[in-house]
């Protein structure tokens, strides 16, 4: 055999010292018993994440069956109209927010460390926090359906239907606060994924050698970071309108319901690709293995992923073609809708070409059947997508069952089928036994046939005029037969899912010891794995290292590659540079703990108690959440130590601050999130002006405050930023304490608070109130957004002061200071932009 004649790689000397492997196992051990909730290993929390997402898929599926039963025949009374409204709202919301996005994020958490041969992603407690927050928030949200408290406004919750006038009670609030909170959890996961893909790749895995799934997860996370803040802002605005009467969406006071649609769909359309791109990434991993052929047109697929990610942000108005927007505006969005079809097509052709290029064809397994099913269904969904991207056609089928058919072809075809392919393909990595191929065929065929029997007739039902979201219909409309067929199909589909559950129960056994690389795949997740991921971190020289380096698995397992041990005596991984993946430093990682778990519980408590107007309890919960977070981050800036040898003659530092540290990068990504949110606010402000200039400052509302107010506020922000900058230059020498740093940090925090207060007072003394008009509401919303940051900076500054006073902050050990200062600079810049916009804009027109 060629493999046996090749020389062994020996980056690290072998044989490895006795006890080294046991030490790794001890350090990375999973907590047992009730302490399992403190676990943060990706293979534990990733499984919990996937399990929770799948549970929500099942629950939302049950709601779908109830709806299909109701619609099976005309004039049916199986469920009440009010319950039906709750069913379709919770079904859509759960599928989109609690299943689709979390499921792919879960796959990222589960698969990426293995695929990148990293010990774990860089912020494992952040992942665990995001997961627990999602599980708790999601379960409480879903349970509202049992208490008649579920929202009824559809998964997109359009106002004015969802304002208090038309939706009294707490139902809509559960959606707004619950989903807003779950979005925050999704963003936390996305930050983790961006940093993980860019900074924890194995040495040698430059951008051109990255697995396509890693590329797709990078784009996916980037899209979440830019898109989700828009819907967070929208939910905040609608909740402020419902709770306090700030009229963002009420026409009588200068608001506009269409503003919600703009903000929602700026998130909502990229959301489709947020779901689809990782699924496409999974397919791009499965197809080469099943054809034993490298992926055709790797570079084109990378281009397609990036192109889709960008263009998907130029499509949001294609959900609003029927709202009376000027035709030229529609044409801009129609053009972008056409442009995005090209990269999607590139990927489909690349998969087909890979299958066609395979010398032995496609190996037919359950995973490949699901991939083929995905291709068939998604292409049909894509074609109807091109149809509805044409404005005249869209006007005809808008809000009909044609759209229901289209969106299910795209979402189930584009996401659920690849997900099931993933279950069958990657199960041997997470389970001691593979899933059953025999049962898998039943699962596939029932789901495939059931899906098409359900949704293909809906195209016709829609073209015949049946509108969406109707509780029942008259039998005289002639829609009975098609609806009955759809209902039968839905139960077939459910039967397929039920058999899958049976397969899981019979065969899935979590833990190590499964077959090594049963599909003969080429990527790193099929290296021998344990709780610490791979024994040593491989040097990567190609896109399919297991195919091109046949001894790789053996060498990695023998500890012949990088970091075969734990030189710092704790959890650690190698951080590499973002482009070339050269070893940069060794990152020490936290272990299991309670703090992130309690932070998630209390954050969920804060949002949910606020929803039911228990303000005091919500406040207590919020304070406890902040305390838990502080306990959590206390140990994240460890004492710098001596560099360590990772093998291959490479010695790396174990501490890094500044521009290239993972903490700096994380804050930068967080600033992108905050920036996206603020840009969505700037858009809202300018949009409201174009709609209702009559309520703007100086016209229908009090004129902006005298110029001295914004100038004073602006100068205070500059002074605050200067104080933080000066504090950075006054940090004491190693192991010293400096009173000047403490004073400057205090001064910076106080100055920011005073600046926000001056801004508020300036507007308040003119008589402007947030509930008086959309202008007033938007002015105070801008200040509120900055005030939130100011509050965070005050807490972080005080935390930094305490670290300084306890000898944990100096010129070298400075990460906690840098993160605070970076956020403070950003907050000041955002505030000054807001001052210019709000005080300058009305004066200019």
């Amino acid at each position: 055999m060629e493999a046996e004649t090749r020389p062994q790689t020996s980056i690290s000397p072998t044989p490895r010292p006795e006890g080294e492997l046991e030490e790794l196992k001890r350090i990375w051990a999973t907590p047992r018993g009730f302490r399992l909730v403190t676990a943060i290993n990706n293979n534990v929390i990733g499984l919990l994440y996937i399990g929770a997402a799948f549970l929500f898929f099942l629950l939302a599926g049950v709601l779908a069956l109830l709806m299909r039963t109701q619609l099976a025949v005309g004039d049916n009374n199986f469920v009440s109209q009010d319950l039906y409204n709750q069913l379709f709202t919770v079904h859509g919301t759960t599928m989109m927010f609690l299943f689709a996005v979390p499921a792919v994020e879960a796959l990222g958490v589960m698969l990426l460390p293995q695929m990148l041969a990293a010990r774990d992603l860089p912020f494992p407690r952040l992942s665990a926090f995001a997961i627990w927050a999602y599980v708790i928030g999601g379960l409480v949200f879903f349970s509202t359906i049992f208490y008649d408290l579920a929202p009824k406004g559809g998964w997109f919750m359009y106002p004015p239907l969802t304002t208090t006038r038309y939706s009294p009670g707490d139902n809509a609030d559960f959606w707004l606060l619950g989903i807003g909170f779950i979005e925050i959890s999704a963003i936390a996961g996305a930050i983790e994924i961006v940093l993980g893909v860019l900074r924890t790749r194995p040495p040698g895995m430059s951008l051109d050698k990255m697995p396509i799934f890693a590329w797709s997860m990078l784009i996916f996370a980037g899209m979440i970071i830019v898109a989700f803040p828009a819907v967070i802002l929208a939910t905040l605005m609608l909740e402020l309108e419902r709770a306090f009467g700030w009229p963002f969406f009420t026409a009588a006071k200068g608001g506009d319901a269409l503003l919600w649609q703009h903000l929602f769909w700026f998130f909502g359309h990229p959301e489709v690709y947020i779901i689809f791109l990782p699924a496409a990434g999974l397919v791009s991993m499965i197809v080469p293995t099943m054809t034993r052929t490298p992926l055709v047109a790797y570079e084109l697929i990378v281009i397609a992923l990036i192109g889709t990610g960008f263009f998907s942000f130029g499509l949001w108005v294609h959900h609003m073609f029927a709202t009376g927007i000027p035709s030229l505006s529609l044409a801009f969005f129609s053009a972008a809708s056409m442009a995005v079809a090209i990269p999607s097509g590139i990927q489909v052709f690349a998969w087909i070409a890979t299958i066609a290029a395979a010398p032995r064809g496609l190996r037919i397994t359950t995973a490949s059947l699901f991939v083929l099913g995905f291709l068939f269904i998604f292409i049909l969904g894509g074609l109807t997508g091109v149809m509805v991207a044409l404005v005249p056609f869209d006007l005809q089928v808008h809000d009909t069952y044609f759209i229901v058919a289209h969106l299910h072809y795209v979402l189930i075809g584009g996401m659920v089928f690849p997900l099931f392919a993933t279950f069958y393909y990657w199960a041997p990595m997470a389970s001691r036994r593979a899933l059953s191929e025999r049962l898998g065929r039943w699962v596939f065929w029932l789901m495939f046939v059931g899906f098409n029997v359900t949704f293909l007739p809906m195209h016709v039902t829609g073209l015949q005029g049946m509108p969406r979201r109707v509780w029942t219909y008259s039998s005289e409309m002639g829609w009975d037969t098609l609806n009955l067929i759809s209902t039968i199909g839905a139960y077939m589909f459910a039967a397929g899912v039920a058999i899958f559950l049976l397969d899981l129960v019979l065969h899935f056994r979590s833990g190590e010891g499964g077959p090594d690389n049963p599909w003969d795949a080429g990527t790193l997740e099929w290296l021998p794995n344990d709780v610490y991921c791979t024994r040593s971190i491989p040097l990567v020289t190609s896109r399919e290292p297991l195919w091109d380096q046949p001894r790789l698995a053996e060498d990695v397992e023998a500890g012949r590659h990088f970091l075969p041990n734990a030189p710092t005596g704790r959890r650690e991984t190698v951080v590499t540079t973002a482009v070339e993946a050269s070893p940069d430093y060794v990152m020490r990682m936290p272990g299991p703990g309670w703090a992130h778990f309690f932070a998630a519980v209390f954050t969920a408590g804060f949002f949910l108690l606020l929803t039911v107007k228990l303000v005091v309890l919500a406040t207590i919960s919020g304070v406890l959440a902040v305390v838990s977070c502080l306990v959590w981050v206390w140990e994240l800036d460890p004492e710098p130590g001596d560099p360590v040898d990772i093998g291959g003659g490479i010695t790396l530092p174990i501490y890094r601050s500044g521009l290239t540290s993972h903490a700096w990068w994380a804050v930068l990504v967080l600033m992108v999130v905050a920036g996206s949110l603020y840009l969505a606010y700037v858009f809202s402000y300018l949009y409201a002006w174009t709609v209702s200039p009559s309520v703007w400052g100086g016209s229908g509302s009090p004129a902006p405050p005298a110029i001295v107010w914004p100038v004073a506020s602006g100068l205070l922000y500059l002074a605050a930023a200067t104080a933080f900058w000066a504090a950075g230059h006054c940090l004491p020498e190693r192991h010293r304490r400096g009173i000047l740093t403490t004073i400057l940090l205090f001064a910076g925090a106080v100055l920011i608070v005073v600046a926000v207060s001056v801004d508020v007072m300036g507007h308040w003394q003119t008589g402007l109130r947030p509930s008086s008009s959309s202008y007033g509401a938007l002015v105070y919303l801008g200040i509120f957004l900055t005030a939130q940051l100011a509050a965070a900076i005050v807490v972080m500054a005080m935390f930094t002061v305490v670290r300084q006073l306890t000898g944990r902050l100096d010129r070298v050990r400075r990460v906690s200071f840098e993160t605070t200062a970076l956020l403070a600079y950003y907050a000041c810049a955002q505030a000054i932009l807001g001052l210019v916009l709000v005080n300058g804009f009305p004066r200019m027109i």
Binding site: I303, F311, G314, P326, T577
Partner: protein
Amino acid sequence: MNSPTSETHQAASTSGTMAFVLIGPLVWAVHFTFVYGFQSVLCVVGERFSISQSIIVTGVVAATVIAAALLTIALMVPRRVEALVTATPSLPPQFVFQRRVMQGLVVLSLFAVLAEGAAAVVLPPCGA
């Protein structure tokens, strides 16, 4: 610890590479934001201040020509564009990959920019 110079260099190299690879979609995003914002605002303001609608067509076409020109330059002379945006030129194997991805994205962006710009020529600027 890394020296401040090497840290700055590494950070500049990473951000420069990202800017180089993403130049096409970034130009598209700026163009898209401009034409949509410009047209939407002028359609509203134009009614109030009697601004000629031909300004909208001219503005959109001008923005399209500028964006298309920038994209064409990026397509034709990638090494010079890379030198402009990155701290140090990439090594050949990396550069080949980055150049191909950049050029592919530029072609897609060019199509989108031209399709959006062409609409201004054939459709009424503010009519429904």
